[in-house]
Symmetry: D2
Subunit: 344 residues, 4 copies
Amino acid sequence: MLVIMRHGASQEQIENVINFIKKKGFDAHVSTGELHTVIGCVGGKVVDPRDIELLDGVKEVIKITSSYKLASRIFQPQDTVIEVNGIKFGGSHTGVIAGPCTIESYEEMDETAAKLKETGVKILRGGAFKPRTSPYAFQGMGEEGLKIIREVADKYGMAVTSEVMEISQIPMFLDYVDILQVGARNMQNFNLLKELGYVNKPVMVKRGLSATFEELLMAAEYVMSGGNREVILCERGIRTFERVTRNTLDLSAIPVIKKLSHLPIIIDPSHGTGLRDKVAPMSRAAVAAGCDGLIIEVHYDPDTALCDGAQSLYPEQFSDLYSDLKKIAPIVGKSIDTQEIKTV
Amino acid sequence: MLVIMRHGASQEQIENVINFIKKKGFDAHVSTGELHTVIGCVGGKVVDPRDIELLDGVKEVIKITSSYKLASRIFQPQDTVIEVNGIKFGGSHTGVIAGPCTIESYEEMDETAAKLKETGVKILRGGAFKPRTSPYAFQGMGEEGLKIIREVADKYGMAVTSEVMEISQIPMFLDYVDILQVGARNMQNFNLLKELGYVNKPVMVKRGLSATFEELLMAAEYVMSGGNREVILCERGIRTFERVTRNTLDLSAIPVIKKLSHLPIIIDPSHGTGLRDKVAPMSRAAVAAGCDGLIIEVHYDPDTALCDGAQSLYPEQFSDLYSDLKKIAPIVGKSIDTQEIKTV
Amino acid sequence: MLVIMRHGASQEQIENVINFIKKKGFDAHVSTGELHTVIGCVGGKVVDPRDIELLDGVKEVIKITSSYKLASRIFQPQDTVIEVNGIKFGGSHTGVIAGPCTIESYEEMDETAAKLKETGVKILRGGAFKPRTSPYAFQGMGEEGLKIIREVADKYGMAVTSEVMEISQIPMFLDYVDILQVGARNMQNFNLLKELGYVNKPVMVKRGLSATFEELLMAAEYVMSGGNREVILCERGIRTFERVTRNTLDLSAIPVIKKLSHLPIIIDPSHGTGLRDKVAPMSRAAVAAGCDGLIIEVHYDPDTALCDGAQSLYPEQFSDLYSDLKKIAPIVGKSIDTQEIKTV
Amino acid sequence: MLVIMRHGASQEQIENVINFIKKKGFDAHVSTGELHTVIGCVGGKVVDPRDIELLDGVKEVIKITSSYKLASRIFQPQDTVIEVNGIKFGGSHTGVIAGPCTIESYEEMDETAAKLKETGVKILRGGAFKPRTSPYAFQGMGEEGLKIIREVADKYGMAVTSEVMEISQIPMFLDYVDILQVGARNMQNFNLLKELGYVNKPVMVKRGLSATFEELLMAAEYVMSGGNREVILCERGIRTFERVTRNTLDLSAIPVIKKLSHLPIIIDPSHGTGLRDKVAPMSRAAVAAGCDGLIIEVHYDPDTALCDGAQSLYPEQFSDLYSDLKKIAPIVGKSIDTQEIKTV
């Protein structure tokens, strides 16, 4: 931490700050510049920088050490690669997850999964518990839904990812799913994150609507500090003044996170844009920017979908997109792992 | 819901939309304007407007009915007035809540409460479970803290408000506190909100960092739909591009919420600005704008506070502010209820 | 400027940074902390901090000296008080400016000004050149409008403020107006600001829709660096995700600007909210927060206004508000100067 | 325009609205739904929707016709393709513009252009007049700079683009440049836009930091309404709460603008991210999303650049990127036109 004194701060003010810092358990290193005196604070104690900012003569206080360690690339220079059902996220791998927004029925999951398997997908998504803005909207099928998605996934040799909303749901989820998702609205549900640190399955943490990259990495740190190092980060759009798109999908998340962290960063273009005709362009863009994975909403018949049909691709649209992505990935040194399709 | 067709939409496109709407269970009322055909949809079924927006020839789809009902002023024209320990929020009343950010020790709460009682405060705040961005920061005293705040409040004849973070904590909170707070980061923790609907104590819901007013009212609706009609809304600053202030305190929340809803709207200037020297001006502003209450951080010795000391007022600053607020309130037709101070 | 090296940066990386800095004309002062080496850069040359950020081993670069000087309270500790027609902005004074959005006709200005004079207003506002989002909307009366507002103001002993949009319009404005306004969309029209630095009349600079406080002060600096020290800053709402209000009026501008700068800060609640019924509460709030002035849209008959009638007050609403403001100001140590109304 | 009456609005309120609408010159078509009465307003007059919103019993007012016409794809279904020096923007073409942020000297432009020509670039960028936040920063070489860039471009058979900041500069720019740029801070400098409507060279309009897509299209409409139909739109990042990147580059601009408008949309990844190591990933992403062009900052020696060196690519980085882009474009049905490099 560095304390920058105002131009013209008195010797008394400087000493007052030094005393305050020492009282908080820091060592103080003073250096005097042309215009400003700068006090470096060394030591392990935690202090709120604003406490110092309020002292007389202080211009600014600057925190240096970032608050995340386990998630930081400084802590681990090489990429974390997470493998689920033969599909890898991170390093030179771009994993693809697909499926409907919500689990609606066995038939819906079965028909959708059949199409996805044909395309080469090996991880199936689908919500069983849905965070809905309105208490009067469909809230998901619950455990019944998890049973369905598991059964269908097993039938087609696929893995499962689904969103967990509550600590009390974790044991149930461990019975059915392979990747536990934390939704954007729960990204700072710190109790939930902490509990997921004790789970031995990968956790996907979605960036909150107004979360900074640092806060996203801190959310990952919560999970990792419990012992679980398999965290996948997911950019799914942030809230800005622009309302033509549902959210503003921030693809700079890809180079930014890759510089700051060793964790894989994947993109959700379906929630990120909210409209089907924007999903394919943004998926291609994400792969071209070097993302470690994609999670895309696909429904065997979007017109009848109970939820978010408007942002779900038709199976044939997805299949075309998938084929484009396989061409783009190698240009940026990545490959899209895919289900081997046995043709007799 | 209204479907606006594009200028020049064909008869076939219009009929296609009408068929789609009817299939979803609506009645369709067509009216043809100079430039646009407008299709009114009548009926109770839920449909995602984007599903219609994607049909050929559709320009825009407009939802008419707002999704909140119980929280709406249309549902209840007169103000909801919530009374806790003789202090009222709503109508012509402006209630004041004060106390430290965090419960740190018996001594801290006792010294702070003694000062607040002198000023006239009858509701004490203090966090026992703290949502902290970093897993390595102090996370609060837990139930031990709740015991302390209850004991101190009882000593001074005060009521208690504190933040509940988890469904599993609700029974514990009911033993100690009089108002259950839902923090900004939990404003869309829908399961928690739902459970609080079954509680028979007032619930204070804080606006999320990037929540619209409509979403805040929907959060209240979640609580109210469970049966609990005692909801206090709290504006505590939103996240914008400006970073000099910790958040941007949106005081227009006061006239906006008062027009849309009958629920009381209170202001948290401490989190809303993040710096002590901004708290007093913004508190005065909030009362002048007609708010139904304030929740202000005060610490008997902010320099030693474990958390958010920088935004906590000194007791004497708070006392001066309180006296200003009592002068401003009557100018806008409100009064600040206060503890009778018995002088022998 | 301070360069923070990454934890574990090599000696070679540190020396490379020092060489780079010296090449740019700085002196380098190295101090070695527990975790990080910090290099202080002293000297007058300008460098883009990002150039250093890109060097190997660099964690962060921190600029210390703020870019504005003339506008800074460090440069001038006492408040700048600007007086126009006997009305003062700054210090213990809160000046009020009122009038319609647009100059529409002599009759409109005359009827509005007559009402405002009765209330006690001495500075009249009105747009002659209107920045309109659409090229097809009414663009203002131009010089004809300026003639009208001047004539009406003279009739009632008032001063005039109006928005100048173009360098080429400045000489014309000097003939008619007493305060030259720079609109939010022009806040970074640096050429215009520079020219206004050579004018010897006060300039009011409105905060841009997405301008930080620092950028607003830099805009003032542009004017001041030309020699004109009479700059009034105006908060008129910023753009956020919330769309119920036209903009989010950021009243924390008042304590923030007053701390950073000696220049007066006034509030425009009409553009800041965009709806008449929000104007009075936010005006009261602004005065309670200690603003140095208000600029409010009032129209003698808002229902017939050509522009922004929806955010214009009726004269009787304004008169009631004005009387409230005169009661609130003294509570915060300010007074609202007013036109003496001679009663025979 | 549609006026939605509140649930339970009285017959008198409805009639009052109808009278108001008719007084404003509209025809009113009333249709009564289950819950709401909706009044359709037909006719050509302009009215501020908020005027009606303030009438008793009104819930909401919805504008239907979009304000831009010439820029709209409804007005012109086929893509506008703009050709400059053999390079096309729009349709199946992705044009590339490159060059330094600022024109610093003949040598700088000459060395940079020589490198760019080798890569295949045919349009050179470089600022002569720089909009700088600080009045104390380097403001550009002015006309001297324009002479240099023209001379260098002619030497290598290239075209020139540069930012015009002022109406009075237009004639000078017409002497030297082939595309006139309007910067983000000037996107709503309506007078400047209007004047550029009378120019017979292409105009590139950059999206403002907080401009919506609709406002960007309205800015284009200003130019087009003067007669100049050659407008290129440019996304260069918007301002959000995230500050790790200088701006948030909103690549969804590509599919969004392509749906709403026939005008070409190009991307500026240099300003959009502000850091060199983010430029290549975002450029690849933009081409994969189907953009009509890119404008990229390249400097022959970024370490010595006077301005924005940190976001400028080294020539060899640019050359590698360019070769990637040529591979990605065909996957999305586009091609990158390039300078024929004659090898003897």
